[in-house]
Symmetry: C2
Subunit: 307 residues, 2 copies
């Protein structure tokens, strides 16, 4: 038989009210239609569930048996539907996001704060790690979304440009390059240079751009904060993406845009291809796109003016 929630609800209501007329009203049905519904249920289970007397309605023994389960079944059904609804309405859920550390420190906190405020029931898992690992997290299913620089990606991932990010020289205010308004790549050669680790996207971009010229590397560090400290101590110069310039807003450091054709770090939203995002993940993705980092102009001007 085809047992539906309508049947269960009708049964439960009737077993409580023990009156077809009142029960039919509660179910927003005419009394004969309600009667037919109960009869259909009874023929479906092949048993009389209610004993009808001209004056009284009451459960038969089989009806009592059914009643024990029917209420539980109905509650279960309602819970399942409500649970789905909670997820669809974004009252519940979970998103696992992986993003580049440079995004996680400066731009992402505001976005996640807004997301949490808007959807307090959705839990967020954030992994701040380098691009390749971000991508692996998504590919392996451990994460829903990655914000990373795209590698030569296979077809199992879907990639969408979020923003592109210019590079800036950062150096001590007393450094000779601080006198130039803007910088070209070959200006960097020979000055003692502080690199990020070889796997960072910044370094890969720079080396590709200057090739075959060699740079004068004095240090290779993992954290941008270390770069900042070294630059402030005039140990060397470095180049960082615009989105990380907030680290370098300090009295003794100046920043200058690095001008070169095509010198851009592109940041992509990466998801698994051929799968759909959960409502929660989609909501986060929508917000990420809506609040995506502004194109170069605004941050550049602001950082060079401040302090």
């Amino acid at each position: 038989m085809n047992l539906s929630s309508r049947h269960l609800r009708a049964f439960v209501v009737l077993s409580e009210l023990r009156n077809f007329t009142k029960a039919s009203e509660k179910c927003h049905l005419s009394q004969p239609a309600f009667s037919a519904l109960i009869q259909q249920l009874e023929s479906g289970v092949n048993a009389r569930l209610f004993h009808r007397d001209t004056r009284n309605v009451q459960l038969t023994p089989e009806g009592q048996l059914f009643a024990e389960s029917a209420e539980r079944l109905l509650r279960d059904m309602d819970n399942v539907l409500e649970n789905i609804s909670d997820h669809v309405e974004r009252r519940k859920g979970r998103v696992a996001l992986a993003a580049l550390p440079s995004l996680c420190a400066g731009w992402l906190p505001g976005v996640l704060g807004e997301f949490r405020a808007r959807y307090p029931g959705i839990d967020i898992s954030l992994t701040d790690t380098l691009s390749d690992q971000c991508i692996d997290i998504v590919r392996s299913g451990k994460g829903d979304l990655a914000l990373a620089s795209s590698p030569p990606h296979q077809g199992d991932l879907s990639t969408q440009l979020l923003c592109s990010d210019g590079f800036h020289l950062v150096c001590h205010k007393d450094h000779p390059l601080a006198l130039q308004k803007s910088i070209s790549p070959k200006d960097l050669v020979r000055h003692p240079f502080i690199h990020m680790s070889r796997s960072s996207s910044v370094r890969q971009h720079l080396e590709a751009l200057l090739h075959p010229l060699q740079m004068n590397t004095v240090l290779e560090v993992a954290q941008l904060a270390t770069v900042m400290g070294m630059v402030e101590g005039n140990v060397g110069i470095s180049v960082v993406p615009a989105l990380t310039l907030f680290h370098f807003e300090r009295p003794n450091i100046v920043t200058r845009p690095l001008i070169a054709p095509g010198l851009k770090r592109e940041i992509y939203i990466i998801t698994r291809a051929g799968e759909s995002l959960s409502v929660a993940a989609q909501a986060l993705m929508d917000l990420v796109i809506q609040r995506r980092p502004q194109e170069p102009r605004a941050p550049r001007r602001r950082t060079s003016r401040q302090r």
Copy 2:
């Protein structure tokens, strides 16, 4: 929404086969009809549950969420329906019967044996007790059926004649009354008489019949087996219903029909009025009626011929 077992089954099948065409066949539906069913489910929960690609079908995150519950829900539903079906088909169940001791020893065992053989899954509870208590057991809901002599009953009980049972003299073969072919009530007076307890139906019938004559009571016992022993020892005579004569089929005891207009013990099937019996109880009642004790002739002849 109206969530039905058809929806759940379609969902579960599709989530396993991940192919509309094959799933539709398994559900005995055309593929478009199946597709519509899934769409209806999706619009009911207000979420896409399957991601359709021209080549692949797979669960969305919400679909996975639903899948966790859907299978359980479907299994629950099926279990409930199967449980009801087991009861309706008399594979499971319970009947509580209360019956007069005189029925429980001689006639009932064969009936219950047949019942158990036919419906091995149905448990029987039997209370062998006096008529009033049998009736109370049914009235209070502790029992489904009673086989008892009907008292002046109220309207809350429904009464149906099962059989009527003549009375027989039982006495020692050397007793003077053993010479008579049949006995009339006044033949009993003055002979030392062994009574059952005052509340037994036999005694109530006898006293009503002989009133205002007094009997010569020598003993008042509770068990028929005691009556038998005393009669066999020629301590006295007694009168018992035909259905209990099997107790008295012994070499030194003779039994003689007691002839008197209207002297019959009537045995009724008693149930609660305005309620329906469980399938199991109805089955027992049907069998009880089908195998009801034969009208006087046969047992009388047989008992008087034997031994």
